[in-house]
Structures are given as C-alpha cells and as structure tokens.
Symmetry: C2
Subunit: 284 residues, 2 copies
C-alpha cells in the first residue's frame, strides 16, 4: 500500500501523479475548497482520507457537488471519508459507539474541553481567542469566529446512525475572558481579552433537545476549572456515561486518526462514506 | 429485514425454516456447541449474530471447523459475527476504538468491575461465586470455574487489529470471600463463601505484558470498594484513558449489543468476521 499526504495545495500535482492507493488531504475546513483535490485524487484512482470538517457530511454544504463526487467515487470503485479527530472521532464515531450498549436513545450530551495553547495564531483567531470584548462581538457578528467547525455534519451523521434527523440546530458561542496575560508559543493574550470560547450546539428532534454538544476551547483550561476532558452521556435505561480523561490532545490525536484511517478507507466499499460506516481506526 | 432470535436449541428448526435475513444465536459459550446451529443458519441463507464467547475468534477453539464455516459463509455470501457485550464490546472493539487516537501502542490495560448479583445460579457457579474455600479450590483445579470467558479470543482480535500476536497468555483467578450473608434474586451466598472473583489475564508480546485485562465479577462490588466500572489505559504518547462509569450493566447492555448488531452484520462482507471488522453498533 502506498500512502501520500498530508500535502498542501502546491504539492498536489506531485502527489497525485504517482497514483497512490490512499491520498490524505489535510488542508482547509470547507468542502468546496477541497472538492477539486478530491476529484483529482479520484481521477488518479486513489482513495481519499480528508480532514476538512464540512466533508464529514458534504451534502449539507453543497448537495450537487457532493452527489457528483460520491458518484465519481462509486464509478471509480474508490472511497472518500472525512476521518480526523473532530469530525472523525469526538462528537461522531465515538458517540455512535457509545450508543451500542443502549436499547434506545432519548438524548445525547457531549462535552469537550480542549487546551488550545499550542495552536497557530490563525487557528486561535478563527476559534475566537485573543480579542477584546468589542473585537470579539464584531467578528462573531461577521461570521469570522467559527469556534468548533463541523457540528451540523457530526449531528447529522449520528442522527443517521440512530435513524433520526434533527429538524433544527441552535448555537451559542460565549467568549471566555482572560484574568491574566499569556505568552503562548504562537501568540500573546492579554488580561481582559478572550482566552477561549464555549460553543454550545443543540440539535432538536420533535421539538426537544436531542443532541447537546459543548466545545470549550481555551488556552488555560485548568485555571478555568475545565481541565481537558471528553465526556458523553447517553440518556437511555440505564443511562450511559463515557469519559476520556484527560481529553484527546489535538496535536497528537488528530494526525494519528488520519494516519490510522488509511487502511480502513482503502478496504471500504466505494463512495463518499461517513466515519460511522467504517470499522474503528487503529495504529497497525 | 427479518430477524429471528435469540432462540434456544428446541426452537432451531422453526426459526431456520423461515429463512430470516439474520439469526441471533445466544445459547452457550463454546464454539463447538454452536457450530451446528451456525451451519444450519448459513445453509438456510441467513446471516448470523452469535453470542458464544469462543466464537469471537473461533480458529482458537477449532481451526478446521472455523475454516469450514468461514468458507461456507463466503460461499453463501453471508456473514457470521460474535457481537455481544463481552466479547463484542468490552475487552475488544471499544479497546481497538480507543487506540484510534494513538500513533502507536506500547501496551494496554483494561479493568472491568461487574455487579453479578442478578445473574442465574448457573452463571454464578460458573463464574466462581457461592463456594467455600475448599470447594472453590477444587472446582478451579477441575476447570469448572471459568470467571470471564473469551480473553484469548479478545486479545487475539485486538492484536490482529494492531498487527501483533501475543505469544502466550498468563492467568490468575483469585477468589474474593464474602464478609456477610447475601440473599440474592437467584441464589444465597453466606459469609466466608466466595462473593466474587478477580480474573487477571495477561497477553505477552516479545516477553513483555502487552495486554493486561482484569475482570472483577462480584455480587456486591460497591462494598468491595470496586463499584461497577470499565476502564481502559492505552500506553502511548501521550497516554490515553477511557472510562465507562458506571460500568456497562450486563442485563441491559448484552442484549442491546446483540440486537444493535443485526443491521451491521446483514450489511457486512461475507465470511466469519470479528467485531472489529464492523462499524459501530447503534440502536437504529
């Protein structure tokens, strides 16, 4: 098996010319922005592991384009899956896995607290970190603060596995202000600026909260009283409670899940699949 | 989709005559004891979900018979999988799932403490509960106390997913004596008799403990200081720690996992597969 990637846009031609079994595309967050790379990979007869959050369920971003690439994958007998850490594990596949011991599911609650201190300044800004109150409000209103990306896709995937479709989503992004100055690896955050966000996303089914997901991204989550942790509660009888403690480290877990997905994507049925269509990833 | 089962031996003919898509066989623990039922189901063009612990990886119990039934399943285009709670989830598929965020795995430790108080007397006796010290030692020596069944199979499955094969297994079954009398739903346990067992199973790779699994089955695990809990530690960098708290309730989780496996087994590739070849079970 030959594997190429992750590779950036500039390296695309070199990567695809060699006709790899599996290409890993870990570039941007948006489906439309990776579509050309995915198409090129499929036309070069490669399977694709992609990290772009929207590509976890690309039909939500662009149904026609998703249908076209899904059809191309089937025609070529190749597989495309978004299989990173989040989407790809937290908020989706591990949640579905946690429902396995349940006869039914009334509702789901997932909370993640993540340490953002090692991310690049670009990602910190996009998440919403390092802003004064007015800057934060302004950027939030302009849609320039995205906090966690992928909730719609992930709730849709979980809903599909459980046979329900959320009728609407509700979101609150709350700024968390810093009490002191921080000199991070890639950025500076001063007292009074945002040191994190609390992003609450609720999917409703039949008028009730069916899936409540809370993402806290913070540069000092321990001081906040929210040490890094991933927790899931499945409301069933008896209730189920899963915990990953400490929570997954994004710098370690995200690339591992991409790499560990190469074999399962190469072995899967053709088409643009979701991560819950696949067996678990493992570091073989 | 038509589903039949779980059904006992007496009901076999009736069940199989109707040609179900999926037959659930939840009878005994031993591969050889379910082989005839599985063969009959495959010959009636049914897929099979089986709970027998040894059938999680039947090649260990009887390689020729396992090869024969695997071949029959492939010839018929049908799938057989052992997919209950344990084997089927704890000690195998959730362990492999927990390695997904790891770049490599040095070793694995899994601990389960289970409340056995609601089981039948037959199962309590087989686990090792309700015996005086001399009775326990005698039965253990005669192989009549099995504590947890399926460790070999489960460690082999996890090893296969991670590309290693344990070269030997080491086991210790320790009796846990009761300090008081218990009147259970289905049995009586007096002070001084065994109220539980601690079953430690270690799979070695290259001379080192690679997978350590501890199963505590006890009629009053809270008093023992071991409330029902499932925990997994993956030794990698950084280490991973997963917890199900409280631990899975066997009366609820085991039948749910069998039922929730029907669709994924019907949709799987043909052959006698293991649970880590399948996507997660979910209550659709």
């Amino acid at each position: 098996m030959q594997v190429l990637g992750p590779f950036g846009r500039g390296e695309r031609e070199r990567g695809l010319q060699s006709g790899a079994d599996v290409v890993v595309i870990a570039t941007t967050s948006f489906f439309r922005d990776v579509a050309a790379d995915v198409r090129a990979a499929l036309e070069a007869d490669s399977n694709v592991v992609v990290s772009a959050e929207e590509s976890a369920f690309p039909w939500l971003a662009d149904q026609a384009l998703a249908d076209e690439l899904d059809g191309l994958a089937r025609a070529r007998g190749k597989t495309v899956v978004c299989a990173g850490m989040n989407p790809g594990f937290l908020f989706d596949s591990i949640v579905v896995t946690a429902t396995g011991p349940a006869r039914f599911v009334r509702s789901i609650r997932v909370e993640r607290s993540a340490d953002m201190s090692l991310f690049s300044e670009t990602i910190l800004k996009r998440v919403g970190i390092g802003f004064s109150e007015s800057e934060f409000e302004e950027r939030l209103a302009r849609g320039q603060i995205t906090a966690h990306t992928g909730f719609d896709q992930q709730m849709t995937i979980v809903g599909k596995a459980l046979g329900v479709r959320p009728e609407r989503f509700e979101r609150t992004i709350k700024p968390l202000y810093s009490a002191s100055d921080y000199q991070l690896k890639n950025a500076t955050v001063r007292a009074g600026e945002t040191a994190g966000v609390e992003d609450t996303y609720i999917g409703y089914v039949d008028g009730s909260a069916w899936y409540t997901a809370i993402f806290i991204g913070h540069i000092d989550p321990v001081t906040l009283g929210k040490p890094p942790r991933d927790e899931m509660w499945i409301d069933t009888d008896p209730p189920l409670h899963f915990e990953i403690n400490p929570g997954l480290n994004p710098q370690a877990a995200a690339p591992a899940l991409l790499a560990n997905s190469v074999r399962r994507v190469a072995a899967a049925q053709p088409g643009w699949l979701t991560v819950v269509d696949l067996p678990p990833a493992a570091p073989l």
